[in-house]
Structures are given as C-alpha cells and as structure tokens.
C-alpha cells in the first residue's frame, strides 16, 4: 500500500511527520497504478524525487546561512537524517488534506475504489504543498500531470 511506503520514505528522509511530498514518494515507491505510470512517463523517478527533496532541504538551510554539506562533514559518518523505523510519526495537515481530497476526487469522478490516481489528484490540489513545489522543481506542472493522468485513465478504460 502506498501509505505504508510513504511512512518509510518519510522516516528515511528524517521527516518527523508524514508530508504530502512523502505521499508522492510512496506512490513512486509502490510503483503501481495509473499515478505511478503518469509520473514515470513524465520522467519523475523515486531517486529523482528524493534528490529534489534533498536539494530543497539544502536550499532552505542555505537561505539562513547553513551549509548541509559542512554540517555533514563536521558531524562525520554518524550523521544521517533518517529517523529509526520504530519511531511513530504523525500525518501532517497537508497530507491529511490530500487524503480527504482524494476521496472527494474519487466521488467526483464517479469511481468506486480509492486508487493512487485519486491520492495524486488530492496531492496536486494543494498549490502550496511540498509535493507540488517538488514536482515544479523537476519541471513537471500540475496541469501537465493531471492531463497525463486522465489520458492514461481513458486509455485503460477504453
């Protein structure tokens, strides 16, 4: 299930809550369904997304004069952002909202199952969200992704 994978990804990146960007990573990691297909057809890979998030973290730190590279170097090998697997983390408000929106999208489209494409649409609904900005950083706009998603659905149905 992509939410389980999302929790793993969140912990791996040191996120102390599950963010909307982690839901997107979860979809990529589970690598099934139309959402993953749409993302990969636009060149969005799990590796690429992780790297983009690391760059965003590094950029946020340098905006206040801190170099992630230097911190890494100074702290040595023991430094890692990863949070231990046993630690429970909450779902962030944005991720919660994305999941609520996913249900709404499902009903709006008239589907009777909740799939990764609904979750992806829920994520894309938040323009401020980390996921949307991460995708923008990778050169993928919401509009293009949504269009691709419905294209693939149409093909699967027809």
């Amino acid at each position: 299930m992509c939410v389980e994978a999302a929790f793993d990804e969140a912990r791996m990146l040191g996120h102390d809550s599950l963010g909307d960007e982690d839901l997107l990573l979860g979809i990529l990691r589970a690598d099934e369904g139309i959402a993953a297909e749409a993302l990969s057809s636009l060149g969005v890979t799990l590796e690429g997304a992780r790297e983009e998030l690391e760059e965003m973290l590094s950029g946020a730190l340098s905006s206040i004069g801190i170099s992630l590279e230097e911190v890494r170097r100074e702290a040595g090998d023991a430094f890692e952002l990863r949070i231990p697997a046993y630690r429970r983390i909450p779902i962030s408000p944005w991720a919660k909202k994305a999941l609520v929106e996913a249900r709404k999208e499902m009903r709006r489209i008239g589907d009777n199952y909740l799939g990764t494409e609904h979750v992806l649409l829920g994520i894309l609904g938040n323009a401020d969200g980390m996921a949307v900005r991460m995708l923008a950083g990778m050169g993928v706009s919401r509009e293009v992704l949504e269009e691709r998603l419905f294209e693939l659905r149409g093909r699967a149905a027809g």
Binding site: S63, G76, A78, L81, P84, Y86
Partner: protein
Amino acid sequence: MDEKTRTRVGGPEDPLEGLEAVIALRRTLEALEAAQVENAFVAGWSWARIAEVLGVSKQAVHKKHARRIRETYPGDPPRRKGRGL
C-alpha cells in the same frame, strides 16, 4: 526601524521560505544531536556525562537515544570503556 528593514534583517521575505528554513534546521539539528550523542557514546562517554553536557537529565537523553544506538551497535559497542549507565 521600519517594517521593510525589519523583514530584511529578520530573514527571508517570503514567510513560506522562512518557515521552511525552520523545519530544515530542526531536521538537521535532530540528526546532528543523534550523531554527536552516538559519537560521544562510541568514545566511551557515559549517558550521565552526555546528558550533563547537553544540559538535560540522564533519563531524557537515554529515552531519546539509547534504543537507536543499541540497535546500531548490537552486542558490545565499539571502544566502549569507563563508566556505564
């Protein structure tokens, strides 16, 4: 100091950017604390001494870090000597 100057001195002008720097710093701080506690532990420091320097109780530092470090070094931790817990 007028409003504009304050914003500039206070940091990034975009609140989103400013708040995200806080999250980034918090994640980095947590990772740095974990790494330095681990380094001290491997160097043979007791929980009590680590806690003292961090300015928190021994229980607090043990609760936060012991399990992770125990899982990183199953069995005898490397180069551990001196006082125990």
